[in-house]
């Protein structure tokens, strides 16, 4: 079991958009999809460590703001060149209009 961490308010993330939040020195990307659901991944593109928070969200795809790398932010799957490595995802839930992500200690 991991611990659930409060990372932001639901109102901080526009629909079909994302923000980057920092927790204990690590950056996480929090997504708000068109259906109002929230998702979380690592914030940095696996390709050249660019923060995805300035990237473009369309459907369930996040596109890196620099090199066009695309990921499915719900599964973390990298979608073709130049992305070779999948993005790590985290369980995410909403309680009392706050967004929580689950972190598992290694």
């Amino acid at each position: 079991m991991g611990r659930w961490v409060d990372v932001c308010a639901t109102t901080e993330v526009d629909e079909e958009d994302l923000i980057s939040v920092e927790f204990e020195g690590h950056d996480y990307a929090i997504y708000h999809d068109e259906d109002g659901e929230f998702f979380a991944t690592d914030a940095h593109c696996t390709h050249e460590k660019v923060n995805l928070c300035d990237g473009f969200v369309e459907g369930e795809i996040i596109e890196c703001p620099k090199h066009n790398g695309r990921f499915n932010f719900k599964t973390g799957e990298g979608l073709g060149s130049p992305v070779c490595i999948d993005l790590k995802t985290y369980p995410c839930k909403v309680e009392n209009e706050r967004v929580f992500i689950e972190l598992v200690e290694v």
Binding site: E16, D54, G55, K66, S81
Partner: protein, 407 residues
Amino acid sequence: MTHVVIIGASLTGTSCAQQLVQSDSDVRVTLISDELDVAYDRPPLSKSLKLGAALPRVDLDPQAHLKSANITVLAGAPAKSIDIANKKVDVDGNLVSYDKLVIATGARARTLPAFEIAGAPIVTLRSLADAKIIQERLESKTAPRVGIVGGGFIGLELASALSESCQVNLFEAQANLLSRVLPKEISGRVADRHAEANVSIHLSAEIEEIEGDSDSVRLTLADGQNFEFDLVVLGVGAVPNDEIAGQAGLTIDNGIAVDETLRAKDDVYAGGDCCSFPLALTGSRVRLESWRNAQEQGLHIANQIVSGEHSAFDGMPWFWSDQYDLGLQMAGWPNSNSQQVIRDMGETLLCFELDPDSKLSAVSGIGPGNSVAKDIKVCERLMAAGRILSAQELADPAVKLKKLLKG
């Protein structure tokens, strides 16, 4: 088994090779590079070169696809000629046969005859080896003085990267920086940021005299100003490496002329900085020096070879530059009749080029970090969809661009 020979192991060649072996196990690739170091990314060379630090080498093949059994890399082996009729490439004296040929020879930095002074520290920046020469030369001086000739992206990025450790003077012949590619509202912000970092930018600079020896280079401007530098870097554009293609009888027109599928001839493709192609957006023939174009054309060629079917390349021109904490992005292709519309959001600024028929033809933006990326991406969609837009809405920061895409 299809044997694909790729000449050039930079972004286009590497992307093409990776895509080929990842999508088809029945293909064998020979990747030829005149450089010893292959598959490194070029943008960091001007954007991130620092003194007293490691060279900014970013690997284009972190997963080591080029080490797969289906790829042979011939590094430090220049392709000397192509025999199209017999489908062979002369690689440093050895003949290599191909079924499909991909020419991805890129471009090289332009030089100027007046700056060709034997033994003087005057260089260009294109390769990792060039970056190493610049770094070593400047690291050998206590208060290095650098002169940069040319206010294009390479020169400006290098000025920004070196500004903390060197005294930098930059000379531009035009009255504005980047005047051919950016509106003055944006280039003005670039100039201001350089001034803040104590980079001296000389606009409308006319260099009258150049003298040099192994120790330094002296420049005199037409207005009488004198400068002495430990190193001069020329950033005056690039020329396509199209000579071996031309000698092989392929058509040259501002680079190797390819059709909309990136074919120069049957079984011969060219992609990236070395080729000119009909731009899907406008139909006009262009040659792009752009990271994304180089990558996408490499992939497009590979996909056609794998599928055996030809399709038109429809990539969108897109460019970026990083200077200090600022990021610039541009997309599309400006039309000479377009109207400029500015959206000023304080720290970030967007400039739209609106056609007479109210469609967006190009956009450029500047802001901290990657802050303009989302808006530029939305604009790419607006252009691809051919949306009719109003100048008033585009200028109004309260109107979300994503809304215009949906509306």
